[in-house]
Assembly symmetry: C2
Homo-oligomer: 148 residues x 2
DNA sequence: CTTGCCTTTGACGTCAACGTCAAGTTTTAG
DNA sequence: CTAAAACTTGACGTTGACGTCAAAGGCAAG
């Protein structure tokens, strides 16, 4: 199929598809006039790529990981990479869960305050003043904690 | 305290702190010479802001939500806003969990392939852990569409 | 006073993941 | 055939959360 149909079937713009190709997330055969032609499997591939994007992975990372996912080539470094990314996602989930709890406290207090007419201060709330670790700060730059 | 100390104590750059102020995430008193002076509570406030950023909220959203979290002012619309954002976070967690599972499958397959020396393609019939959500992880580009 | 770090505002740079517009070619419909 | 739709590459625009100068003024020590 050509790029337009692929775009329609995946819900991804043609611009994005060309971008993905530019980032080596996708390959395409070319007709002799230069038009891209994709196999059926491209649909699934794009959905996978989208999913990884949604998970917060960068195109660079995805490009490095997909060889394993797609072509079945796995090196120890790649495995390591996968594990690292899994860890990032894990940490992200933890952070989100934490923030959600905090939001819950806020919502509860606010609701109560609306009922009682008092101010909605939840206090220091669930845990200690969050030492939120800088999770996905670009690069491998990690936040230093209590170091001075 | 002045901006430098606040930056050191929060691990946030002075540029970011000025940016936060610009975005109304933070206020500061000024000395008669124009320098910003912050109370102790600013530290906690910044950590909260950072946490919300990490949760994926934009500065605009945070600016709209913090009045409730910080000052205890809650309107019904604000409560609604909070609920909406909570929902976003929830969905984000779901997505991340989903992707993590998928990554787990990939890692398992890849590890197995490294042990057995075979390519890390999940078999078509086996336990098939790599076929999450009906999308095949084999994205092999060899398949051609019906020509002719 | 001078030295030297700290702070101020202003303004341009960056990076990612595309959007959008332009101008030309190819495919398709009639 | 023509006209429209789809495709091509190229290149500049956008948004968010800052980074990075630059020029100037402030503040405590010697």
């Amino acid at each position: 199929m050509r790029i337009g149909e692929l775009a329609r079937r995946t819900g991804v713009s043609t611009r994005a598809l060309r971008y993905y190709e530019e980032q080596n997330l996708l390959t395409a055969e070319r007709s002799n006039s230069g038009q891209r032609h994709y196999p059926e499997t491209a649909v699934a591939r794009i959905l996978l790529v989208r999913e990884l994007f949604t998970a917060g992975l960068s195109s660079k990372i995805i490009a490095e990981l997909t060889p394993c996912v797609i072509d079945g080539k796995a090196t120890p470094e790649l495995l390591d990479r996968l594990a690292v990314e899994r860890g990032h996602i894990d940490q992200h989930i933890v952070d989100l869960t934490h923030t959600r709890s905090r939001l819950d406290s806020v919502i509860a207090s606010a609701s109560a305050s609306m009922d009682t007419g008092t101010s909605c201060q939840p206090g220091p709330a669930s845990t200690a003043p969050a030492q939120v670790s800088g999770v996905t700060l670009r690069g491998d730059q990690e936040a230093r904690e209590g170091e001075g």
